[in-house]
């Protein structure tokens, strides 16, 4: 979608607040939200559906609220959409259904268990597929000038642009369909774009931008 999240190359966002205390969480609630997001995911959710739900946050909130606040809002939305919790329960601040899981609440995990889960959570998204890749390293490619009304990983700044295949990544879960619940693998490439081909104000530069793009975003240039 052409949403507020598609920030690459957008102008007007001002200077960067480069100072950072180096602490992972600046407020208690940030840590709580991080923890919630790690241990409460609705069954059947995909990473791309969660991302798309974050993209669907109202633009004013997306820009105006803190980062982990937007995670909390995304969690709320995915839980409600999946029927895990209801708007009435949020208003009431407590469960309003006779939850069968309630007598058997999830057990506490220790630090060691959590560290093991983090290690086990190195999820791979690639797989072998039958179709041969359409492009190879050094292939000149042209990206689609159309976006998508739903979730996509082809950002606006890289649409209708010429680039060169830098590497073949294997066949990865295609985000546009994964965000609709369909996990289908498609060849994915790392594509190199010259900065001069992306930005009107750039001249005489050898700088590059690299982006991982799926086969259906690309055509042979």
């Amino acid at each position: 979608m052409d949403g507020i999240h598609d920030l690459g190359g957008k102008q007007g966002y001002g200077p960067i607040e480069v100072d950072d205390e180096g602490t992972p969480f600046h407020h208690d609630w940030e840590g709580r939200e991080w923890g919630i997001a790690q241990c409460a995911r609705t069954p059947g959710i995909t990473i791309d559906w969660w991302r798309h739900c974050r993209e669907l946050i109202m633009p004013e909130d997306y820009l105006g609220r803190p980062y982990f606040d937007s995670w909390a809002q995304t969690d709320f939305a995915t839980y409600i959409e999946a029927g895990w919790i209801t708007l009435d329960e949020i208003a009431a601040g407590k469960s309003l259904v006779d939850n069968t899981d309630f007598d058997n609440p999830v057990t506490a995990m220790t630090l060691t268990q959590v560290l093991q889960e983090d290690h086990d959570h190195a999820v791979r998204f690639d797989a072998e597929i039958d179709a041969p890749p359409a492009f190879s390293v050094a292939s000149p490619v042209l990206t689609s000038s159309h976006g998508s009304s739903g979730h996509t990983r082809l950002p606006q700044y890289a649409r209708g642009r010429r680039g060169t295949v830098n590497a073949y990544n294997g066949a990865h879960v295609f985000p546009d369909l994964s965000a609709r619940g369909k996990e289908i693998h498609q060849h994915c490439y790392n594509v190199c774009f010259a900065a001069v081909d992306l930005w009107p104000e750039v001249e005489n530069s050898s700088d590059k931008v690299y982006l991982d793009l799926w086969e259906s975003y690309l055509a042979l240039a």
């Binding site: 920030l7 690459g8 957008k10 102008q11 966002y13 960067i16 607040e17 480069v18 950072d20 992972p24 969480f25 609630w29 840590g31 923890g35 919630i36 790690q38 241990c39 609705t42 059947g44 990473i47 991302r51 739900c53 669907l56 109202m58 609220r65 980062y67 909390a72 809002q73 939305a77 995915t78 959409e81 999946a82 919790i85 708007l87 949020i90 601040g93 407590k94 469960s95 058997n104 609440p105 999830v106 995990m109 630090l111 959590v114 560290l115 983090d118 290690h119 190195a122 791979r124 690639d126 990983r153 950002p155 700044y157 965000a179 609709r180 700088d207 590059k208 690299y210 982006l211 991982d212």
Partner: protein, 216 residues
């Protein structure tokens, strides 16, 4: 099960915009309270995740990977060829690093990592991303004006150096291998790890050294 209904989610967001308290702490509190009441989350597990990403998992892991690559040419080669396997040798494989690519700085190349569409970050080796990495200013500008961004971080990049910006894409994420500092020939791997700043592994820091303030 999700219904994958984007229109419904947009409406939910509008509803939450009007009905949730405006203070972030209260919003998250409301979320945790409800999930705990429904038996879907155990608060002690949340505590454990916070502890894991405060005490154990963070940029010191990435710094150890970098220092080892500086000291061990064979390891560096494995790291550049198959980063997930190489970081798993140190036990640091984990969340969001299964498709990690390591990109190497040289005298002629500087690498910078961003995620313009969300805020993808290699959690299990760098921990929680700094606030600026997740902010609109960095996400919008890093691809378009990387040299201006680097200057704001105090990193001047010569005209003879090519800047390569890596725009992360959901499961494919990046780590910069910075250059080993000058005059560090006699340092141990552990001492070297102490010189590697978090920002140098994202690419917003370039020249490390004894004067480097280390991990930030």
């Amino acid at each position: 099960m999700p219904e994958f209904d984007a229109e419904k989610v947009a409406e939910i967001h509008q509803h939450l915009h009007s009905h949730l308290p405006s203070e972030s702490a209260l919003r998250v509190k409301a979320l945790e309270t409800l999930l705990v009441d429904k038996g879907l989350v155990n608060p002690q597990t949340i505590d454990a995740w916070i502890e894991a990403y405060t005490e154990e998992i963070g940029p010191k892991r990435g710094a150890r990977v970098v220092a080892k690559a500086w000291c061990d040419a064979a390891y560096k080669k494995r790291l550049l060829q198959d980063a997930p396997a190489a970081i798993d040798e140190l036990g640091f494989l984990g969340k969001a690093t299964a498709h990690l690519t390591v990109v190497e700085n040289t005298d002629r190349v500087h690498n910078l990592v961003v995620c313009t569409l969300c805020s993808c970050y290699p959690f299990s080796i760098l921990g929680i991303a700094p606030a600026w990495y997740k902010a609109a200013a960095y996400r919008s500008r890093a691809v378009r004006d990387p040299r201006g961004v680097l200057a704001e971080f105090g990193a001047a990049i010569g005209d003879d150096v090519e800047v390569r910006v890596w725009d992360s894409t959901a499961e494919l994420r990046y780590l910069v291998l910075p250059q080993r500092p000058a005059g560090s020939e006699d340092m141990t791997e552990e001492q070297l790890a102490g010189l590697v700043s978090r920002n140098s592994m994202i690419g917003t820091d370039r020249v490390l050294g004894a004067a480097s303030k280390g991990r930030d």
